[in-house]
């Protein structure tokens, strides 16, 4: 198994790139006219999980972006998904 140092050597630049891209995305949404929707709100709620000390931040973010309901719905009104619950 690689050491922490080796993991950093392998993946730091990629993570840095994605973090800056996320920051630029937040800036971009705020800079443009109109109202953001539930997807933006869900992302804003999920971002603090990055700084938590949870044992699995990836799982926690996926959970935060999941539909909380438990029963099957009566009918589908769309076929696709949005990436965040309404």
């Amino acid at each position: 198994m690689p050491t922490k140092q080796q993991i950093l050597d392998l993946h730091f630049m990629d993570a840095r790139c994605k973090l800056i891209d996320l920051a630029a995305f937040l800036d971009r949404v705020e800079r443009h006219d109109g109202e953001a929707d539930f997807r933006f709100t869900a992302l804003q709620k999920a971002i603090p999980i990055l700084l938590s000390d949870l044992p699995s931040r990836a799982k926690a973010i996926l959970d935060a972006l999941s539909d909380e309901s438990t029963e099957p719905i009566e009918r589908a009104t769309i076929q696709g998904a949005f990436g965040a619950p309404r």
Binding site: M1, P2, Q6, L10, H11, S56, A58, K59, L62, D63, L65, S66, D67, E68, S69, T70, P72, I73, E74, R75, A76, I78, Q79, G80, A81, F82, G83, A84, P85
Partner: protein, 266 residues
């Protein structure tokens, strides 16, 4: 790198992709039945699709020396109209004895509706009646966790089901534990935007150290990469996995699951 692509929608790919897969070391391709990107207008459309999966596509793959197998069903995206879905299901049995058909799949849920769930359960019963393996699709994005739970709850009601002959695909960090804990196989799908990246999949391999996992590209007509599995193998190499360990995950694990069908001979 010797590997098996256990989930690819080759009807949506070009012949150039077969050449790339062959050059990358792909030893077999398995193609579950799925959605065409639009709803088919009649059961006859599915009849032709099953002919394509069981007859035409194996010949196209054979030109590149790759054995091609398939799974049959009506996918959950087209299961909202239960009457239509049952009409389609009525034509599936005549294809189940074709020499490259492995089992029933990819069945499952899409928007987690009652109708999807009913058709899912009828497919499970069909597989049980024929003693066939099952490949299950879990929903996308925000619907995945709920859909996975509904699928697990439903499967738990089938007491005769051999959990080891069922693979639940497209797991992510929030669903993998429940699937493996219940005794099923789990599939990790490597997509550029949704589902898993190669490094997240490798993280899950490390966290779950389970024998019942496979990797797939699920390449189709959307944003996907037919070489995703072998590229994940390269990432494993960067993370100090030995060639034997990589081959075990990329070739040995799918071989063990798929060999539960006597038709899977490579």
């Amino acid at each position: 790198m010797k590997y098996i692509e256990p989930h690819a929608h080759m009807v949506s790919r070009t012949t150039d992709d077969y050449e790339k897969l062959a050059m990358a070391g792909c030893a077999a391709i398995c193609e579950p039945a799925f959605w065409a990107g639009f709803d088919r207008s009649s059961p006859a459309g599915f009849f032709d699709y099953y002919r394509q999966l069981t007859d035409y596509e194996p010949k196209r793959a054979a030109k590149y020396g790759i054995p091609h197998f398939c799974w049959l069903c009506i996918n959950p995206k087209e299961a909202e109209d239960a009457g239509f879905a049952r009409e389609v299901m009525s034509i599936i049995p005549e294809f189940l004895d074709k020499p490259t058909v492995l089992g029933i799949g990819e069945i499952g849920l899409n928007k987690n509706t009652r109708s999807e769930l009913a058709i899912f359960e009828e497919h499970v019963q069909l597989a049980l009646d024929r003693d066939l393996p099952i490949l299950i699709h879990t929903p996308h994005l925000e619907d995945k966790r709920k859909g996975t739970r509904l699928i697990l709850d439903s499967l738990a009601t089938f007491s005769a089901l051999d959990r080891g002959k069922v693979i639940i695909d497209h797991v992510e960090e929030h669903t993998i534990g429940a699937v493996l804990d219940a005794g099923y196989w789990a599939g990790m799908t490597l997509y550029p935007e949704s589902k898993c990246t190669p490094n997240r999949a490798i993280d899950m391999l490390e966290c779950y150290a389970n024998e019942q996992l496979w990797l797939n590209s699920a390449c189709d007509w959307g944003v996907s990469d037919p070489l995703a599995v072998v590229k994940c193998g390269l990432e494993m190499r960067k993370r100090h996995y030995s060639p034997d360990a990589i081959e075990k995950i990329l070739f040995g694990n799918p071989l063990r699951f798929l060999s539960q069908s006597p038709r899977f001979v490579i």
